[in-house]
Symmetry: C2
Subunit: 566 residues, 2 copies
């Protein structure tokens, strides 16, 4: 599934952007056919509510591959003689540091990238990039390797050949990575993909660019949003032990100590596709109204993965608990991440929720078929489907079955919602329940705010894309999109996983919409409806709260419409 | 609980209305003390999220009783001599028909009521009524008995004595009830309380006045909203049999036939407090924007009762089903109510939902401690907590466990939500899921739209009341109220039942709010937040749909502010 999505994503990102430039590049009739075919498959003609990836995507992918080869061939012919000359002199190219490369991120400073220790000025190539200008610019000022790792189509001799045309230097052999500062508690943090938009370096908090987020139904691990509260702990998996315990004096259940091997061999493996969202997703829109306390997340603090592990309910059963065990109300989770005073991250969920077969709460050790990455809780984390990210405790060290909620700061004095007129002088954290299930949510990922969009010259249509999700297992049943600021609404096509019962994963959505010929500036709005027919509120101000959590107002993106002059 | 609420309700309705008149009547210092005490108990000083009925209500009730006696005593002294004279001449009083009485409903025509075959002109008493003018006017033009049955305080010789003062005639002995028309399929329908606002007589659909709805946490059976799709069937409880069956060819489960006695003796009794809401509640606000198809419900198509019966899951287990039975997805319910062609009412819920212990789906034979009333499904109905009224099938005759949803009109081509731009030419009912769990909802029940409200002359405060509820077991965690059209919000006090786990009953709410001295016209708005932090949408138009269902936009009530001239 992941592989298929990635192949599709490459096709999609180029097919769905109305690109004047591409029209000049892709002279192949077959390419245009693929574009139209893709659009037809997105139309409402099937009459079904949810379309699963059915776009004839493989065809499009193959054709795009051909298209790429065509471009590269054109280039090859054009520069063949010159590159042969240049190859001779490449040993004498200037040397640059990575810091110098980093300054070259826009056309006026020239756009530089690095690959395998060499420096390239790709300013004249960005408009020719088959994957679209915006995608290649994500690498500007840095290394290409992390992006090519995401987009397999680049792994070809043709691409490397073309790249050589733009070589302007090499990385200085003296430019070493900064040595680690072992007095820095964050020195053990892993390296991260450069495309992430970093909201905080220490602790590390970052989100993927929105246009990349909805390229794939399953978010690649490197792009999955990162939300750390503390330094990433360094855990030896061979020595790791999960402790299951009860509070002093409690009589139910029995304490357990489980190694990773115990977990993997004593309990059934279970897999589930789950979307996680930070309570602060889209906080920046609340910040724009009145300053809130918290990281300034855009709409990218949400991602979807296929998680594998064992059911929490099975582990609790092994510890002697049943659904009817009296005097237990909560299951507390304690992370192995800690601050300088030794205070560990912690959270809890209701015991009823933890024991529910339907709710599929997982102790996960795999993410998208790989060992859990360090940033996502290696070697073990909790996955609580449908529940706010903050309760999905990473680097899980201890489980405590209790009459009480977790007493942690994050359970008691954070991650709660308040009336918009409550301020830091009047807030009483004990008056609001800890956030568990999240409300219905949706956002537009393409186009981006302020973007100049070009409707198709034949039918005047543009492509609008986004995601929608709801907590508590409530499936998204409809996404409405307005191109006139909310006066009229169209129904978007949905893409999702087929699943019976409670649904934990998002739906991606797409709409091919006609823009009236006279419109120059438009505001695009989306709103989703879940299976409880919950609707999103219209505006942000009435749900504003001092922590900037739970922003699920209609998402608005204003763009300028450019008419194709060709 | 019911009894306590009723006693409180009498206290509340007089205490919380800012009444100039009452201030002159209730000279008792003790009465004023009770009023202030009540308000203090409503204040936020406890710091707890939900206040349960804790108002010192018994005290207030007793004091109100004393207050009532004081008024009646004042009157008695004033009219003693005259009434003695009148008693002599009462045999010669004029005779009226009920139709004639019905014309006297406002001061210009005089306000008449009947009691025990006598007619009273209470025009001069309405302003003196201890329960408030609006309450006594609900009986104008009709009989007092149905109201006195709701308000036990009237059952006293003092009240009857006072009433005699206003006697103006007797009901004509020739004024008989209309004989039943047995060719009318609705001739077997029961009689209903006259206070109900009737939206359709045949089939009978009616809602209680909003100011009465939130007097009680548990809605009295006679006031509980009635939503019939067909004539009320006449069922002999001794011959009644519930049939549990499987579709032809299905192999799981075994057919059952259960008498009422079987149900009551073979299965454990289970009780649960559940709020039911019609999907069309508040449809009139959608109608005001653009005409929709459906009964013009106000905000009263919601009520709460304590239901008793047996668990559906127990009956299905007896029929051989378990949570893991393969190839069953839905449980269909068929009513014994039918149209002239023999088509019966029907609906279904997911099998997973029916078998869930947490969801407490009930086959109910009692409502608020009484046998199920005819209008509410006598002798047996389904109660599906947290789910739209339409699936709570009344007069239940047959249960079918199936791979398929109910094929009934009401499951397939009704009770579904659509995008606001879908009309009757374009609607495709198969594209939307049948409504099951309902979204978060709230409404203002006092004051009423257009009412002239008088803030307390000391503190400038008024009392605002309403209800809030959400489907799916999601508890109401907060109600925000705005007195300035949505610019600022205050948190209302909540009244509810203490319950762990999923919560099926509404919260009543109340706010004592200060109105700025300069305001003459204000718009009051309420919005509720449920335990998934779902919010209500701001406005009706973007959620408008051709069937006028699922209106859960903010509820708005505009009123005029009168300043006390005393």
């Amino acid at each position: 599934m992941t592989l298929l999505c990635r192949v599709q994503s490459v096709a999609l990102c180029s097919l769905t952007r109305p690109q004047r430039l591409q029209k000049h590049i892709f002279m192949s009739v077959r390419m245009c056919t693929a574009k139209n075919e893709s659009r037809r498959n997105w139309s409402k003609e099937t009459g079904t509510r949810t379309n699963h990836w059915e776009w004839g995507a493989t065809t499009a992918g193959v054709l795009l591959g051909l298209g790429s080869i065509l471009i590269f061939d054109t280039h090859r012919r054009k520069v063949q003689a010159e590159s042969e000359k240049e190859a001779v002199s490449s040993h004498f190219l200037p040397q640059y540091t990575r810091a110098e490369v980093k300054k070259h991120t826009n056309p006026s400073d020239r756009i530089w990238v690095t690959y395998a220790g060499e420096v390239f000025d790709i300013t004249d190539f960005v408009d020719l990039h088959p994957g679209g200008k915006s995608k290649i610019l994500l690498a500007a000022g840095g290394a290409l390797e992390p992006f090519w790792a995401l987009y397999g189509v680049h792994k070809s001799d043709h691409v490397l050949e073309i790249l050589q045309e733009y070589k302007v230097g090499v990385i200085s052999p003296d430019d070493k990575e900064e040595p680690l500062d072992f007095s820095d508690p964050y020195s053990g943090d892993p390296s991260r993909h450069p495309v992430l938009k970093v909201n905080s370096q220490k602790p590390f908090n970052a989100e993927p660019p929105l246009e990349m987020l909805t390229e794939n139904f399953i978010t690649p691990n490197v792009l999955f949003f990162k939300r750390n509260h503390l330094p990433v702990p360094n855990i030896n998996p061979d020595e790791f032990q999960l402790i299951v315990e009860r509070p002093p004096g409690a009589k139910q259940g029995k304490p357990l100590k489980l190694s990773l091997k115990d977990l993997k061999t004593k309990f059934s493996r279970h897999e589930v596709t789950v979307t996680l969202q930070c309570a602060g997703n889209r906080r920046s829109e609340m910040n724009a109204i009145k300053t809130v306390k918290g990281l300034d997340w855009g709409a990218g603090a949400i991602s979807t993965a296929r998680w594998a592990g064992v059911r929490l309910r099975d582990v609790l059963s092994d510890a002697g608990y049943t659904e009817n065990t009296p005097n237990v109300q909560h299951v507390q989770f304690e992370g192995l991440d800690q601050d300088v005073t030794g205070t560990k991250y912690g959270a809890s969920i209701p015991f009823r929720h933890a024991m529910s077969k339907d709710h599929e709460v997982l102790l996960a050790f795999e993410m998208n078929g790989e060992e859990l990455p360090k940033d996502h809780g290696f070697p073990l984390r909790v996955i609580v489907p449908g529940v706010v990210g903050a309760r999905n405790v990473k680097w899980l060290g201890r489980i405590i079955v209790s009459e009480e909620e977790s007493s942690s700061h994050w359970q008691q004095n954070d991650y709660k919602g308040f009336n918009p007129n409550v301020d830091w002088d009047t807030v009483d954290f004990s008056s609001a329940p800890a956030i568990q299930e999240l409300p219905v949510q949706s956002a537009i990922t393409e186009p981006r705010p302020g973007e100049i969009i070009t409707p198709d010259e034949d039918d005047g249509k543009v492509t609008i894309k986004g995601y929608a999700w709801s907590g508590g297992g409530r499936e998204i049943v409809r996404v409405d999109v307005s191109l006139d600021g909310g006066k009229t609404w169209k129904v978007a096509d949905l893409i999702g996983e087929e699943k019976k019962g409670l649904v934990w994963a998002w739906k991606l959505w797409q709409l091919e919409a006609t823009i009236p010929a006279e419109d120059k500036e438009i505001t695009i709005i989306c709103k989703a409806i879940d299976s409880s027919y919950n609707m999103q509120p219209d505006t942000v101000a009435p749900i504003w709260n001092l922590r900037g959590v739970l922003n699920n107002a209609w998402h608005r993106v204003s763009v300028t419409v450019a008419r194709d002059q060709h």
